[in-house]
């Protein structure tokens, strides 16, 4: 089968998605099915100047990094490079939270994602909205990106949410599959850093119950996830990333301000009340120390 031609275009980025992609375990297979006409690290047949000079044939445009009309690559405005490829390609994929929502570099003035400035729609590339898929995350999970590219290659119908993220990966919350789930379910708010036990939602800013992503479904580097390790979820797949005071849970009258997706405050309070009836010794002590 003919290789699918992909342009990996970096805008204002840290190259974190580039390196996260290199962690994909089956790269040999991928590189036999796809060909990069340009990639920030991997060899390509074309130089950046070739890419910016004229329209090289291309099937999928990948954009990594936030976008500003002032930012240039090889002396050509990034917006102009995007425009010259966007028309021709079958699909555009925003790779990472910066390209999707602006992310960390979106904190600078006039820097946004391709279609979104945080949650707000932008209009510069509006005419390409329907051919775009967003893979958010800081960085992207390599498997989520690669499988989406295969789905495009196979011309599968990809069901997306309002931010154009494939539902198959972003319908879950990061909370799904966390090894600390029981401490959340029974509202045991005794987390201390440096331990295997406890849930970071109550005190330490964990955003996993209201962040969409597959971090605990498809593990990172095939071995772990931030919340399993004991690091709060920072909400890096969301348009609001980065929020402030990331290691601290904002509360109103002792109740976390942000509740799990779709859960009303009143019902949450009722549930929390009921969990007070439990005394689960197993979860009050160390998992397996004496």
């Amino acid at each position: 089968m003919k290789k699918t031609r992909v342009l990996w275009l970096s805008a204002i980025s840290c190259n974190g998605n580039t390196h996260s992609f290199l962690n994909y375990p089956y790269l040999e297979q991928f590189l036999s099915d796809f060909e990069f006409i340009y990639h920030p690290v991997l060899e390509s047949d074309y130089s950046l100047e070739d890419i910016t000079a004229c329209g090289i044939a291309c099937d999928i445009l990948l954009i990594e990094g936030a976008i500003s009309s002032e930012f240039q690559r090889a002396d050509v405005a990034i917006t102009q490079i995007i425009e010259s490829y966007a028309q021709e390609v079958k699909k555009i994929v925003t790779v990472g939270t910066c390209a999707t929502f602006g992310g960390i570099f979106g904190e600078n003035d006039n820097v946004t994602g391709l279609h979104f400035d945080k949650e707000k729609r932008t209009d510069t590339f509006e005419h390409y909205f329907d051919k775009t898929i967003s893979i958010s995350g800081c960085p992207i999970h390599p498997e989520v990106l690669v499988n989406t590219l295969y789905a495009i290659k196979k011309e599968l119908l990809i069901s997306v949410d309002k931010f154009l993220r494939p539902k198959e990966y972003f319908a879950y919350t990061v909370h799904n599959g966390c090894t600390r789930n029981e401490y959340f379910e029974y509202k045991i708010d005794n987390h201390k850093f440096g331990t295997l036990e406890g849930c970071m939602f109550y005190e330490h800013g964990c955003q996993a119950p209201y962040t969409q992503g597959s971090c605990n479904k498809i593990l990172w580097n095939e071995v772990n996830s931030k919340t399993r390790a004991g690091l709060p979820c920072m909400g890096c797949t969301e348009p609001t990333f980065p929020k402030q005071n990331l290691f601290h849970t904002k509360k109103n009258m002792g109740i976390p301000q942000n509740l799990p997706v779709g859960v009303a405050k009143r019902t949450y309070l009722t549930l929390a009340g009921i969990t007070k009836a439990f005394t689960i010794e197993r979860l009050e002590k160390k998992l397996f120390d004496d």
């Binding site: 996260s20 950046l48 240039q72 331990t195 290691f247």
Partner: protein
């Protein structure tokens, strides 16, 4: 003649001036900046632990370790367990190792006319990323090192997994990079020339193409990030002194570029694996330096050598980990109560990385980052050239100049933080 140098985690523009068919001066220009230091201003100091790894996709972990060091330096009486210190050192080692594999196979080999061997870069670097993720949850972009220690707890079972990842990486080195069990203890560069493997092959090619002496600069080295393996110090040729102070490090603006210059006592120094090896007096690198000076050969050798040294050292660190110690000790006061300043220096893959923070009423008032590439690529004037500028002087072609330039393992995103 202006050439756009690509695939250095971004680009740089090099303007080559020739005189009598030889490079006479090279003006180095970086074209953008991302204002990370501005983004940090006004934020909670702990948020820097999340923002700063995003300075760089390939050495972001060094930025995390530098950040936590700078924040902890704001305290007078903070306790960190040896266990937490060792875990941080291990994950930083793993990041250096993954970087070096990528640099050798993705950047260096193609410059010598070889096809890029993607899988030889990604297989071992994925093993190292897994090892970081065991502690930090993921790689890149974890924030697992926090003020007071690390967020994770590890078990004897985790140690077993970690040891296997290291053993597998060492096996990769011995099957591919240098096919000899003696490489890590080898003291004579002549013996490496006789070995088999991707490194010895490259070294022989350098010899055949008469590039042995290329890329020499000031022969002045510096490293600030001391830990259980690296020593802090400077080396003028081979004369090492350990009495150096961050107070003499100066950063200055350059009108033509977004990168800032960095000097020590008004002089430019090389940072990176060759500097570390000179200061640590690694016998094999000292021998190569004695024969070929601070050339591309010594730089390449030092970087690859570091892979083996850090893998061996990491094995020892894991054995010595005392799991009964706490991973995290609560700081005596919350950081939101502080009015203080702090700084730290760590050895990142490309050399000394310095972070400085000023906290006022519990928020970041000022943040300053000095990256390794700034040291190596300081763009001086014709009379006072930067390290990489000087290394390119006298070369007759741009292809070799690009090779010399990239032998410093340039990182554009770090430079344009």
């Amino acid at each position: 003649m202006i050439k756009l140098i690509e695939k250095i985690e971004g680009e740089a523009k090099l303007n080559f001036n020739f005189k009598d068919n030889k490079i006479d001066f090279v003006d180095i220009k970086f074209m953008s900046t991302r204002n990370i230091e501005n983004i940090l201003r006004g934020k909670s100091p702990l948020d820097a632990l999340v923002i700063n790894p995003r300075v760089c996709g390939i050495c972001g972990h060094a930025h995390l370790i530098a950040t936590v060091g700078a924040l902890e330096d704001c305290y007078d009486d903070l306790k960190i367990s040896n266990k937490a210190k060792t875990i941080r050192e291990l994950t930083l080692n793993f990041e250096l190792i993954q970087n070096h594999f990528k640099w050798f196979y993705l950047t260096m080999l193609p410059l010598f006319g070889h096809k890029q061997q993607v899988l030889k870069a990604t297989y071992p670097s994925q093993l190292m990323a897994k090892a970081i993720a065991l502690f930090g949850g993921q790689y890149p972009h974890t924030s697992y090192a926090i003020v007071g220690g690390v967020v994770c707890e590890i078990t004897e079972m985790d140690k077993i997994k970690l040891q296997h990842l290291i053993t597998e990486t060492i096996k990769f080195v011995e099957d591919n990079l240098v096919k000899s069990e003696n490489f890590s203890v080898c003291k004579n560069i002549d013996n490496v020339f006789k070995m088999e493997g991707d490194l010895p092959n490259l070294l022989r090619q350098i010899k055949e193409e008469k590039l042995l002496e290329r890329g020499k600069s000031y022969d002045r080295f510096i490293a600030f990030g001391a830990n259980s393996y690296f020593k802090k110090g400077k080396s003028l040729k081979t004369r090492v002194s350990h009495a150096i102070s961050l107070n003499y490090v100066k950063e200055s603006e350059i009108p033509s570029s977004f990168a800032k210059n960095v000097s020590y006592k008004e002089k430019y120094y090389e940072v990176g694996p060759l500097s570390r090896a000179m200061i640590n007096k690694i016998p094999l690198v000292i021998d190569a330096h004695r024969k070929y000076g601070d050339s591309i050969l010594s730089r390449i050798l030092a970087r690859v050598c570091e892979i083996s040294q850090l893998l061996e050292h990491s094995k020892k660190l894991i054995q010595a980990l005392d799991l009964s110690e706490p991973s995290f000790i609560e700081p005596p006061v919350d950081i939101s109560q502080l009015n203080a300043s702090g700084c730290s220096a760590v050895e990142a893959a490309r050399g000394t990385l310095i972070h400085k923070v000023e906290i006022e009423n519990g928020v970041i008032k000022n943040y300053e980052i000095i990256t390794p590439t700034q040291w190596n690529l300081s763009g001086g004037t014709k009379d006072k050239q930067g390290v990489s500028q000087k290394a390119m002087i006298g070369l007759s072609d741009i292809k070799t100049a690009e090779l010399v330039f990239k032998s410093f393992d340039v990182c554009s995103v770090c430079t344009t933080h």
